[in-house]
Symmetry: C2
Subunit: 344 residues, 2 copies
Amino acid sequence: MSIVKNSRHLFNEIATGYPIPGQTTVYDDSQTIDLDKAPLNGGVLVKILYLSIDPYLRFKMRHPEAEKHISLYKFGEPIDSFGVGVILRSQNSAYAVGDHVVSGFPHQEYVVLPKDAPLRVVKNEAKIPWSLYIGIAGMPGMTAYSGWNHFAKSKPSGSTVFVTTAAGPVGATVVQLAKADGHKVIASAGSKDKVDFVKSLGADVVFNYKEQDTREILKREGPIDIYWDHVGGDILDAVLENVRNSGSIVIVCGSVSGYNGTPNPVYRHNLIFERDVTIYGFVNMTIAGRYREAFYKEIPEAIASGQMKYREHIIKGLENAPQAILDVQLGKNEGKSIIQVAAE
Amino acid sequence: MSIVKNSRHLFNEIATGYPIPGQTTVYDDSQTIDLDKAPLNGGVLVKILYLSIDPYLRFKMRHPEAEKHISLYKFGEPIDSFGVGVILRSQNSAYAVGDHVVSGFPHQEYVVLPKDAPLRVVKNEAKIPWSLYIGIAGMPGMTAYSGWNHFAKSKPSGSTVFVTTAAGPVGATVVQLAKADGHKVIASAGSKDKVDFVKSLGADVVFNYKEQDTREILKREGPIDIYWDHVGGDILDAVLENVRNSGSIVIVCGSVSGYNGTPNPVYRHNLIFERDVTIYGFVNMTIAGRYREAFYKEIPEAIASGQMKYREHIIKGLENAPQAILDVQLGKNEGKSIIQVAAE
């Protein structure tokens, strides 16, 4: 019997505040697929194993008019995010049955993709868990790696770095890259567990931002030379008040304070010029190309050897994806949030 | 009779909102100086001719605890700004009687400066008005010149540039440099007179921001590749909403929206990373050194030939300096605001 259920995770309505499981996005198991006979038209049939739940998914749930360049989710269709899958059938000689592939995938159990779909075959010579290829060895890790190499490499060893959401896959990678470059690293996270994890990465000063005042810590431990920003708003103000005069840089890689509801504004923009701050905003895709080869050569091996550390939060079952999205926005996940759609 | 009045313009109290003439700063003519006998101790006696009234003077009127790195004014002492003076007596062989010198000067008619005072002798081979050496041929002009050359030169000809406070000496210089580089220039100013002046500089789209909506203009005429920011706050938000996706730059050279009272916040900081914006904050002194020689070689000649245009608003008498400071904050000056302290 080759006809099986093909459950999906659909975009249902715009999120205004936090996304609401079962309302903003919904789980749907009404569809089936014939795994043997589904027409491929020169493409491939992929069984999805893992799907990534990232903070940025939230801003694809905005009104289509809000921001035009980031492809927003469409009502009634599966949301998409990075995933790992395995090829079940192929009419494309670039992909063999059994190949593991990484790409942006729709949230569903099985998907037929056209001939020109941008799949990357992962050989995994380092023999690390496949799920890591959408975490520290995937987009989040590469965001950290490419951003760090692109913007922060010119700073002399011994600079002071501040990283927010430091237990997340991007933040944790930045902490480790910054320590490897000989910097002093100040890092914040939102639970005792996360703080302990970030300490284990070698960060010099780690604090729970829900219990300790970021301004006070930065005043005592700064001034800051490099700020890796995932937050924006008041925390960016706190950093601007505590950057080194002249030459400091802010690398803006996220803005979670403004994702759910009214943005948390920045008041101290005058300090950008008074203190000669350079702010680099970036999304991974614009610079990653230059660093991809080095990243895949270096990072999976460093993970396999235990030199590069990570934490995963794997949740089994696509039906749990709506709740996982909310949990990431609330910072409840302890490690990179990943939905395991199917066993290998 | 060599004993003469030596009137001064003193810092009296912190400004919280707009500076109040006669209260925030006060004119005082209670002192005298003996021009023949005042001891020089190896230094010079300078008669001050012109003093510059700039927007940035406002943030030297804050509470001393507010910002530490910009030397704030001291109660009961003359405020200082850039000025042009002439040497009346000299015990320093570097300066001859009759030399014109430019420096930061205290606001008073005559001043004895020590041997190591950082005076720059201006030969004025281009024979332009001396007052310009604190305007388009001085600090404001050099701020525009060095900032433009440092941050904006890599952009291809035909980019779209937006300049705020475009009738001011920095803005007007930026407009002319941007047009010389072949860009499309959108510029805003605060009166019909100012708009007419900026049009005469060759800007492509000039509007009165008090009468027309900046967002609408930018939406229609953008997207923006280069924003020269003197304002911050809501106008910076309007620009972030209308920058080109990927690769746009913001050069932050002032933040007048936040000088007087509660800062006007920035809400759309999320667009900094979503749209790959780079923001360069700078104050002139950190980069001017690299561009000084080229600036003095190029700009006074360009002014003398009529190629580089400017407007001055010269006010006679140091007693009018307190009001001139407020007028600059309110944008009432029509051209670079300068106090003529004495006839040459």
